[in-house]
């Protein structure tokens, strides 16, 4: 009898102190492993030879951003189709390497050709001579829910297995609808690799995004819990062009923007809300803007028929328009409104000064929101977005 009581007490004590947690912990770990194992054969290691460390562009504050330098590799890619297409990130080829090899999980090492790069979505397409590559399973975009598990996989650190980092989907439809956002740790360890769901289906391709610093932009946010993966249908949209060897670059029209100055008569702004816009501060000679006769002082009030908000929004909306694409601007000059169509060009095709428009992620204004002094400042966002 005494024994029985003791036994019961022991059981109930266990029920109190021991949680059901270990069970779910073990189940989660098993699910993660199973997910990675399912996709693993499609996750390839990429090695490059030759090329040079890219020069980091000066940031908005006039200095090179926290000197992020490329590592020595390897990097990661994902089999896109069995016939030898490998999708990865343009970040991995910022050195412009002369030789690229792809190593499959089974140990086969193949020479790869870099077909094209999409600098907007930060993608790159490789081709290897193979016909039997294991294709991963993709998750349908409609099945994606904010809060679901996401696993970031990469091969940069070697080892037999792909590395894995667990997080959740933080947001969908980011960066003009190009990217899924995750708080799994995304970094050069897995740029170019897949973001998986808990059953091993591919959600998207991990890339650095936003941030500043040209070819390495976004890498300074590595492991910050702000990571991005490109949707499969966005990859599909550019696949043919990349496969054809095209390089997709952000288009420029050759203007410098300035935030509309505060009005001397604020009540007028309320009466005339349409007057809000983004002012052109400077027009580059020999650029789409100069050819369309845009002038300093003109105010852009709409882009493709949509009213423009502020510089940040305007730059964001321009940021995923590629060279070769057309845009329509509604421009207010004194009391007239002018409609112009422009064809975006590559930065290099613009006369002096060349790199006029800062990318969307690096607005040039520094109004307000100065951070409090201290080595550990509160987490307010500064307008330079870094």
């Amino acid at each position: 009898m005494a024994n029985a009581i003791f036994h019961l007490m022991w059981v109930s004590a266990c029920a109190v102190s021991g949680t059901e947690a270990p069970d779910i912990e073990r189940a989660r770990a098993a699910a993660i492993r199973a997910a990675v194992a399912r996709a693993s054969a499609s996750i390839v290691k990429i090695e490059t030879i030759g090329g040079a460390q890219p020069i980091v562009e000066a940031g908005p504050r006039g200095r090179a951003e926290e000197g992020f330098r490329l590592g020595e590799g390897p990097t990661t890619g994902l089999v896109y189709s069995a016939d030898g297409y490998i999708i990865t990130s343009s970040f991995n080829f910022a050195r412009d390497p002369s030789i690229i090899t792809v190593t499959l999980q089974d140990g086969r090492r193949l020479i790869a050709k870099l077909l094209g790069r999409d600098y907007i979505r930060r993608l790159a397409l490789l081709k290897v001579d193979a016909a039997d590559l294991p294709e991963p399973q993709w998750l349908a975009t409609d099945d994606l829910r904010v809060g679901q598990y996401a696993i970031a996989c990469g091969r940069a650190l070697g080892g037999d297995q792909a590395s894995m980092s667990l997080g959740i989907i933080s947001a969908v439809g980011r960066r003009n609808g190009n990217a899924i956002q995750t708080d799994a740790k995304v970094s050069p360890i897995n740029y170019g690799g897949p973001l998986l769901d808990i059953e091993g289906a591919v959600i998207g391709i991990l890339v650095p995004m936003a941030g500043s610093g040209g070819a390495l932009a976004g890498a300074e946010w590595y492991d910050s819990g702000i990571g991005f993966a490109i949707y499969r249908d966005k990859i599909g949209l550019v696949f043919e062009r990349l496969a054809a060897g095209e390089s997709i670059e952000q288009g420029r029209i050759g203007i410098v923007l300035a935030e509309d100055e505060p009005s001397l008569f604020p009540f007028l702004d309320k009466l005339l809300p349409a007057a809000k816009g983004v002012k052109i501060k400077e027009v580059a000679p020999d650029s789409p803007a100069s050819r369309a006769d845009l002038r300093a002082g003109d105010k852009i009030v709409a882009l493709d028929g949509q009213p423009t908000g502020d510089i940040a929004e305007m730059q964001r909306r321009l940021s995923d328009r590629a060279a070769g694409e057309q845009i329509r601007l509604s421009v207010k000059r004194r009391w007239r409104t002018i409609e112009v169509s422009l064809t975006l060009v590559r930065p290099a095709e613009i006369g002096k000064p060349s790199d006029l428009e800062a990318p969307a992620s690096a607005p040039t204004t520094t109004r307000n929101a100065e951070s409090p002094p201290e080595s550990e400042p509160p987490a307010t966002t500064q307008p330079d977005g870094n």
């Binding site: 926290e66 492991d223 509160p378 987490a379 966002t381």
Partner: protein, 545 residues
């Protein structure tokens, strides 16, 4: 031939079967495991879908080039954010918020707390806003799940928040402030999380696994890598915030508190090393050399912990201190003193809009009137709702009265009826005065409300209360204290200008009596001395008979 159609089906089944078998062999995942993980995942998705509509992106009016985050806490559009997020909006008290519905709403900045880095705003629209429900940050445990939401790096183009997931890494953390004597933007007794918090997350909510608001994110520890998350973020606890909300809602700029004494660590003991003679702590009996055992209901084992815990209280908050002197434990109760609001330093001028704009707020009066109306509305609701209250004509109390000596018990049998009540006047005896104020609230709150003003928040019978001051006639005034969440009337205090006579009733143990909720314990204080306590076994509240 009728069997033919079934063949492909069987084949499909067997294929699926072999597929499953292969996976099962390849890994150690069982379908039951996956179901468990999917259930856990689904729960989180549902919580996020439920609470994220209340998460706001906070911007300067008409400018989305910078900004922070916020969260709405009621349907009327009141929201919380960090002071440092709205500091640049102080001059005209105007800003914008973007909600996940994709729309921008104008908001006004209400009360602010520069010391605690908190602020309240109110957004406007027709119809109710989605809002987050508050949790209890005192019951958090290290390891609990913590969801952060907000607009890091201004990524929310459509104002849908970034959701990050992690755990509570530490509790009761202290992060020194900035500015003169480090009094601005202090994070005391705050929550540390490994949830990713980045620039722009400031002012955004931290939720527990159930989607209850447990804190407001505002700081991160960073180092060589620059302004990105490295797994060490801090949130101001919601229990600290709750004590200030009534004042912010009324547009007040709030002060934090000092104890009127300081402490030092002596080995493992915490000793009073300085005390302001004649201050409230001193008058309450605390002396130099006393060992502090507990402060405001928390055990104190270091000077740092004392400072951290002190920081969560508004000025004038009542606290209880247990000290040891000559081996004897003694309990003192007093109100904390004001900690002056930090003046902006040169380095902070931009943040404060270049000037000291605190405390001079065009918005205060309007916000205060709204806050008074709200308190009355909540009171009526707490009583049992509009209709029930309007038809209320009499209340019968049956109970016993205890004297201050605790020996004398007398039976109490009070019958009140609406008709017999006169308007409050200075010459009334205490019981009639209290009855008069209570019935005035019931009968016609609006007229009384018009003469009231929110002046403070307070802790009354263990609840956060909004304190209103009312001046019905020259020289006299009374204060009303309502529970800030439930609307219960917790205190009525009358103060006569000429004689200085004070009469105060405090109520507790609210219970439903018929259609209305009324106190079952009523304490009377005369000139700050407890005079009697009445405990009512039953309260009979009635309408028309």
């Amino acid at each position: 031939m009728r069997r033919c159609p079934s063949i492909p089906l069987i084949l499909a089944f067997s294929l699926a079967g072999s597929e499953l078998a292969r996976h099962a062999a390849a890994d150690d995942s069982k379908s039951g495991d996956l179901a468990q993980v999917r259930a856990e995942e689904r729960e989180r998705i549902e919580v996020i879908e439920r609470v994220s509509p209340a998460v706001a992106c906070v911007f300067n009016r008409g400018n989305r080039a910078g900004g922070g985050s916020g969260v709405l806490i009621d349907a009327a559009g009141h929201g919380l954010t960090n002071f440092h997020v709205i500091a640049s909006m102080l001059e005209d008290r105007a800003g914008d918020i973007g909600l996940p519905d994709g729309k921008i709403y104008e908001m006004e900045v209400l009360g602010v707390d520069p010391t605690g880095d908190m602020a309240m705003f109110r957004a406007r629209r027709k119809g109710a806003f989605p809002f987050a429900e508050m949790g209890d940050s005192d019951v958090l445990r290290v390891g609990d799940a913590a969801l952060a939401m907000g607009n890091p790096f201004l990524l929310a183009e459509d104002y849908t928040p970034t959701i990050t997931f992690g755990i509570i890494s530490g509790l009761h953390r202290y992060q020194a402030g900035a500015g003169a004597k480090a009094r601005a933007l202090r994070y005391t007794d705050c929550i540390q999380v490994d949830t990713s918090i980045n620039p722009g997350n400031s002012g955004g909510p931290l939720f527990n696994a159930d989607g209850r608001l447990i804190g407001i994110n505002g700081r991160v520890s960073i180092e060589e890598r620059g302004r990105v998350n490295v797994g060490v973020g801090y949130a101001i606890s919601i229990n600290q915030i709750k004590r200030f909300i009534p004042m912010w809602r009324a547009g007040l700029t709030t002060k934090h508190a000092t104890a009127g004494f300081t402490v030092v660590d002596r080995g493992r003991r915490v000793i009073v090393d300085q005390i302001l003679e004649g201050g409230p702590a001193y008058l309450a009996g605390i002396r130099l050399g006393d060992e502090i055992l507990s402060f405001a209901r928390r055990e104190i084992s270091s000077a740092n912990q004392f400072a951290s815990h002190l920081g969560v209280f508004p000025a004038n908050w009542p606290v209880e201190v247990v000290c040891r002197r000559d081996g004897e434990e003694r309990t003192s109760r007093f109100r904390l003193e004001d900690l002056p609001i930090p003046k902006p330093e040169k380095s902070q001028q931009e943040m404060f809009g270049g000037r000291d704009l605190l405390g001079r707020t065009p918005v205060t009066e309007a916000a205060n009137r709204r806050a008074v109306k709200r308190a009355f509305r909540y009171y009526v609701k707490a009583l049992g709702g509009d209709e029930d209250v309007k038809s209320l004509t009499h209340i019968k109390w049956i109970g016993k009265r205890l004297s201050s000596a605790g020996t004398d018990e007398t039976a109490v049998d009070v019958a009140e009826s609406r008709e017999a009540i006169r308007p409050p006047a200075a010459n009334m005896p205490p019981v009639e005065l209290e009855r008069s104020i209570r019935w005035t609230l019931v009968a016609g709150g609006d007229e009384l409300a018009a003469r009231c003003r929110v002046i403070a928040a307070d802790e009354i019978t263990d609840r956060v209360a909004v304190v209103l001051e009312c001046k019905p006639q020259k020289g006299a005034s009374f204060q009303l204290g309502f529970d800030d969440e439930k609307g219960d009337l917790l205190r009525v205090e009358f103060r006569e200008g000429s004689t200085g006579r004070q009469v105060r009733y405090e109520y507790e143990e609210m219970r439903k009596a018929g259609a209305v909720s009324l106190p079952h314990r009523r304490s009377l204080y005369l000139n700050e001395t407890l005079h009697s306590v009445e405990e009512f076994q039953s309260v009979i509240a009635g309408g028309e008979e």
